[in-house]
């Protein structure tokens, strides 16, 4: 019974194994970044960066077709330019970073749409950009896994300054010259994970797997390590359940995965022990006193 429901789809079909592996890679790489985004009150930055990437990937597609490399490089370049430009503006002018990011990603998006439209080819770019997790080939999988590994490595190196930035950015800025480096490297990680994620889930869904598990984890753990572990777990479980739902109930896989993560967030919101609705409002506080 359990075998048929859970194991058989993966045992019988290679594309299901690949989809799961791709999702796990994205979960491992993107969720820690998502946790830090949430801690730094930058949850919507992920969404903005996703839009900033889209035109770069589109240009990559127009230049050399459905090539994984060109679209990846295009997306990375566009994302980096927007991240660097908005960060730079925020640091040398009085405009806050969120405002300048919003400005730059909107410009980037409009530019991308303009380029695509004037090219005159009507192949639906959204389809091209909505990578489907069911069609991951070897190169895409290698790319996803490399991005995840690199992301985890860089995060490990940056862990302390990043935590400091979350807690007290002014303090970090005053004691270390590395504050700017930390910030831009972190934005680069966001871009990299989104580019990796959109091969698997599409640009919009990639933001979902980055942010939703992190938001859910807030109700399960308090330490940063705990948050990252909980978020990665939620993301992997969502991927597994979402893929199985897609398999058994013939739902499109990307949205299924993100919706399961959404359900996970909803349940955490209610039942989570750390500040969840029930824990917060039931007179169980006696324990603590």
């Amino acid at each position: 019974m359990i075998w048929d429901l859970v194991v058989a789809p993966f045992a019988d079909f290679g594309f299901m194994r690949r989809a799961l592996l791709g999702c796990i890679a994205v979960s491992v790489g993107a969720t820690p970044v998502g946790v830090f985004l949430i801690l730094r009150h930058m949850s919507l930055t992920g969404d903005a960066m996703a839009h900033a990437i889209l035109p770069g990937a589109a240009i990559g597609y127009l230049v050399s077709g459905l090539s994984l490399g060109a679209m990846t490089v295009g997306g990375l370049i566009a994302g980096m330019i927007v991240a660097l430009a908005s960060g730079f503006v925020a640091r040398v002018t009085s405009l806050r970073e969120d405002a300048s990011l919003a400005a730059f990603y909107l410009i980037s998006l409009a530019l991308g749409v303009l380029i695509v439209s004037t090219h005159g080819n009507n192949i639906d770019l959204m389809h091209v950009l909505f990578g489907t997790v069911l069609a991951l080939d070897n190169t895409a999988l290698i790319l996803l896994c490399s991005f995840a590994s690199l992301s985890v490595l860089v995060l490990a190196v940056l862990f302390r300054p990043l935590v400091l930035e979350c807690a007290d950015p002014q303090f970090l800025r005053s004691v270390s010259k590395l504050s700017g480096v930390t910030h831009f490297t972190f934005l680069a990680l966001v871009v990299m994970n989104l580019v990796g994620g959109f091969h698997a889930l599409g640009t919009l869904m990639a933001v979902g797997i980055m942010i939703l598990p992190g938001a859910a984890a807030r109700f399960w753990a308090e330490s940063i390590g705990g948050l990252i572990a909980a978020a990665a777990l939620v993301a992997m479980l969502s991927s597994l359940i979402g893929l199985l739902l897609s398999f058994h109930y013939s739902l499109p896989s990307g949205p299924a995965i993100i919706l399961v993560a959404g359900v996970g967030y909803g349940l955490s919101l209610i039942f989570g022990p750390v500040g969840g609705a029930i824990a917060q409002n039931l007179p169980r506080r006696n324990f603590e006193t």
Binding site: I123, D124, A135, F247, S250, P252, S253
Partner: protein, 349 residues
């Protein structure tokens, strides 16, 4: 048949008319017409010749299912005397575009008068598809008697009875498969409709349109005998074809082939793991040796399926759009010939 007879009657009348009245059309500008997509555009071009100025909205390699009209398109539509569309809900965006552009010319539905194939429900198990495909041969009503045992038979009966009505609310993607041009018999009907539409809008050149139509129909008939021979030669166990989206229903019905697709009828839908799994199971069970990719779709999925099942990629089929000038399917006739040759090469070996 009555419509065809009346077309010929009016054609004769118009020819007589244009012979008796001194023609003033020599100095006239070609009439502006719009065709919605490249395949229809090619047919219109062939029949209209130098008497029309044609604008095709969705060009070569474009996907009509998901087309976003541009202001330029709206301008072309606004200025056009005749607007040629496929119909059968293929161009879902056209009604809004025509309204927005306040189009007040004649709208010609090219599929007018064909026998449409009912849209298949894609919730069905793929295992049942073999029967479904045979059932799609609606040309002969008698065919249905053989399929009495099938539970969906009643549905299909209803489709036939209500063909002229628009009361099929149950389906999501339109009631009928819109890709009617994939059958050469239907192409003749397309040509008739186009010629009649042009003749009505531009009576002065009606005779030219009907002459061009006759030439085009001769070419279609000649091609049909070639394709008939190629498809007839396919072995009985090699008649299942896997393509990215269900665009070949009419071709399949004409030549007793079975087409399977993970994406369903429209390129808009996203695939689910269940669809892909069902297709892979079927490819393994029926030991299907070749899968095909299409010019307008994302082919990564098919490459994965080929990879997983050991089937080879048999080639590129052109379904909803022609190729560019230099491609192998730059005209309608070339497209059908290319598709038939590709299928025959990959399946016949």
């Amino acid at each position: 048949m009555t419509s065809l007879r009346s077309v010929f009657a009016s054609a004769t009348a118009i020819v007589t008319f244009s012979l008796t009245v001194p023609t003033v059309s020599w100095a006239e500008q070609p009439i502006p017409v719009v065709a919605t997509f490249s395949i229809l555009g090619d047919m219109v071009e062939r029949i209209g010749g130098e008497h029309i100025a044609l604008t095709t909205l969705v060009g070569p390699d474009g996907d009509t299912h998901v087309y976003q009209p541009t202001p330029k398109a709206a301008r072309s539509v606004a200025e056009a005397d005749v607007l040629f569309m496929n119909g059968l809900e293929f161009e879902g965006w056209l009604e809004r575009l025509a309204e927005a552009a306040s189009f007040n010319g004649a709208m010609v539905v090219a599929t007018n008068g064909i026998v449409p194939i009912a849209f298949e429900e894609h919730e069905d198990e793929h295992e049942e598809h073999d029967e479904h495909e045979e059932q799609e041969e609606h040309e002969e009503h008698d065919d249905h008697e053989e399929h009495d045992e099938h539970e969906e038979h009643d549905d299909h009966e209803e489709h036939d009875e209500h063909e002229e009505h628009d009361d099929h609310a149950g389906h999501d993607h339109g009631t009928f498969d819109p890709h009617a041009w994939q059958s050469l018999d239907n192409a003749v009907i397309y040509a008739n409709n186009i010629a009649a539409g042009l003749a009505q809008a531009d009576p002065a050149n009606a005779s030219a349109y009907y002459i061009n139509r006759a030439v085009f129909v001769d070419q279609i008939v000649a091609l049909k005998s070639d394709v008939d021979a190629m498809m007839g030669a396919l072995p009985a166990d090699k008649r299942t074809v896997v393509t990215p989206h269900d665009a070949f229903g009419y071709f399949a019905a004409a030549y007793d082939l079975t087409f399977e697709a993970p994406q369903g009828m429209s390129t808009e839908s996203e695939v689910s793991a269940a669809d892909v799994a069902a297709l892979i199971t079927q490819i393994r069970r029926d030991s299907i040796s070749a899968v095909f990719i299409e010019s307008i779709t994302d082919n990564r999925m098919m490459e994965q399926i080929a990879n997983e099942t050991g089937a080879t990629i048999g080639g590129t089929l052109y379904s909803d759009a022609l190729s560019g000038e230099t491609g192998p399917a730059s005209t309608y006739l070339d497209m059908i010939r290319h598709n038939a040759t590709t299928l025959s090469d990959a399946l016949g070996s």
